[in-house]
């Protein structure tokens, strides 16, 4: 093949390297007064079916990506991430108590809640701002979204297990209690020492005789 026409190559390279779209006049001046219109027309036709196009916008020429490939310029990569323990707790509190303010969440959790935690839940699409509570300070209150229900396979919030069910499932066992179970059972022979903290409400005593 004989290489393309020199003016065509020059126009091609110039527009490629240009930081701004260029008019016919600018191009021509840049290329020493050459007649650039035939080259532009030939280039425009050459690139019509390719991944890039030569287009005229407001009397200025530029290369750009073919419109049907625009999606290639902006790719989304999905990254699966597990919700943190803190965020899961906050989500659960909102689900059980909604609508609920941040102060109320903190009162229930017993610890401060980082602002980022609520942001994550809102980014996940599970929590939304549900207005403000009409009390002094008018705090923002939060509630769950329909996406929350669908993600967790719930028809409604009423399907969340109640406290009794949680207790029955052992989910309300506190750490203390679990510890005592461990600590007491093996100590079968040891005499229980009655201490002030230990003795409070006596259960029905086992009487001998």
């Amino acid at each position: 093949m004989t290489g393309p026409d020199p003016i065509l190559r020059s126009v091609e390279a110039t527009l490629f390297a240009a930081e701004q779209p260029m008019s016919v006049e600018q191009l021509s001046a840049h290329l020493g007064g050459a007649e650039v219109r035939p080259a532009l027309a030939a280039l425009e036709a050459h690139y019509r079916e390719r991944g890039i196009r030569l287009v005229e916008r407001g009397r200025r020429w530029q290369f750009q990506t073919a419109p049907d490939l625009a999606h290639l310029l902006r790719r989304e990569r999905e990254q699966l991430r597990r919700l943190s323990r803190a965020a899961t707790e906050v989500l659960a509190i909102i689900a059980y108590h909604e609508p609920v303010s941040r102060a109320e969440i903190e009162a229930i959790r017993g610890v401060q809640t980082a602002g980022g935690t609520l942001d994550v839940l809102m980014e996940a699409g599970w929590v939304r701002v549900a207005g403000r509570r009409e009390v002094p300070g008018r705090p923002v209150i939060y509630a769950t979204t329909p996406e929350f229900l669908s993600h967790f396979g719930l028809a409604s919030r009423r399907e969340l297990p109640g406290l009794d069910e949680l207790r029955a499932a052992g989910l309300l066992d506190s750490v203390d209690e679990a510890y005592r179970t461990l600590a007491e059972d093996p100590a079968d022979g040891a005499d229980p020492v009655i201490t002030a903290s230990d003795s409070a409400p006596l259960e029905k005593p086992a009487q001998s005789a």
Partner: protein, 257 residues
């Protein structure tokens, strides 16, 4: 040696005229560089270059720059001294040569010059290539590729519900439950001790009042409550207590009405 240098100054002086003599050496990256430049100026194949001639040229050049700035010239002067030594050694009869021989020193010097020369050539050829931004150009205004990372958060029903359970368990008011255990209450101990004491006028040890076959934990509880019961009976005037020694056995008997 003529008063003229045998070659042109390799680089025009860049400094003010009064400093000209001082700054002549700034054109080189050290004595080795100057030597290489001088060697090139012999305009012969480097293979046939004369080390002796090179030494003479170097010494002549340094001699020209009389008013050298010492801090700048120290390296050059050290090289000059070494070259002068090398030259005299090369001219001596072989028998008097030391180790390493001047021939080895000269050869090593030439090897060094060849290596520096090679890199200098390589650098020049490298810089002469088609360089981006000078000879070839990348796209002036690329759209750029953006990769947006979108977090897809994961959490399941169990994690949600158990998290709530943990919160409630963690923050619930602490209630300590004493698990069922064999105890003898004060009331029952009072009844028991009082009933057993009713007929005894002899001192009887407290232990006698405890249930005879109780398991250890119940026995301990019974001991405690029976002791309190004994104190209570003594307070009511229904019993007397006696202990012969500290930590000794505790005895009680009924008070005759």
């Amino acid at each position: 040696m003529s008063e003229e240098l045998p070659f042109d100054p390799p680089l025009p002086p860049r400094a003010a005229p009064e400093e000209q003599l001082h700054l002549d050496l700034e054109g080189w990256e050290g004595p080795l560089d100057l030597l290489l430049d001088l060697a090139r100026r012999q305009k012969v194949d480097l293979r046939q270059i004369s080390i002796l001639a090179l030494v003479d040229q170097y010494l002549a050049y340094i001699g020209q720059a009389e008013a050298l700035k010492l801090e700048l010239a120290a390296d050059y002067l050290v090289m000059a001294a070494w070259l002068a030594y090398l030259k005299s050694a090369l001219l001596l009869p072989k028998a008097e040569q030391e180790d390493p021989s001047p021939e080895e020193l000269a050869l090593r010097l030439q090897l060094r010059l060849a290596r520096l020369g090679a890199m200098r050539e390589a650098a020049a050829r490298l810089l002469a290539r088609d360089r981006v931004g000078r000879d070839v150009f990348v796209r002036g205004r690329p759209e750029g590729l953006r990769l947006d990372r979108r977090s897809v958060w994961q959490c399941d029903w169990y994690a949600l519900v158990s998290a709530y359970g943990q919160v409630k368990a963690r923050t619930a008011p602490v209630v300590h439950m004493v698990r069922t255990r064999p105890v003898m209450t004060l009331d029952s101990a009072l009844d028991r001790v009082s009933a057993m004491l009713g007929v005894r006028i002899d001192w009887t040890e407290l232990r006698e009042f405890l249930p005879p076959h109780a398991e250890p934990r119940l026995r301990r509880s019974a001991l405690a409550s029976s002791f309190v019961a004994a104190l209570e009976l003594a307070r009511r005037g229904q019993a007397e207590l006696r202990q012969d020694a500290a930590f000794g056995p505790l005895h009680l008997r009924c008070v005759a009405a």
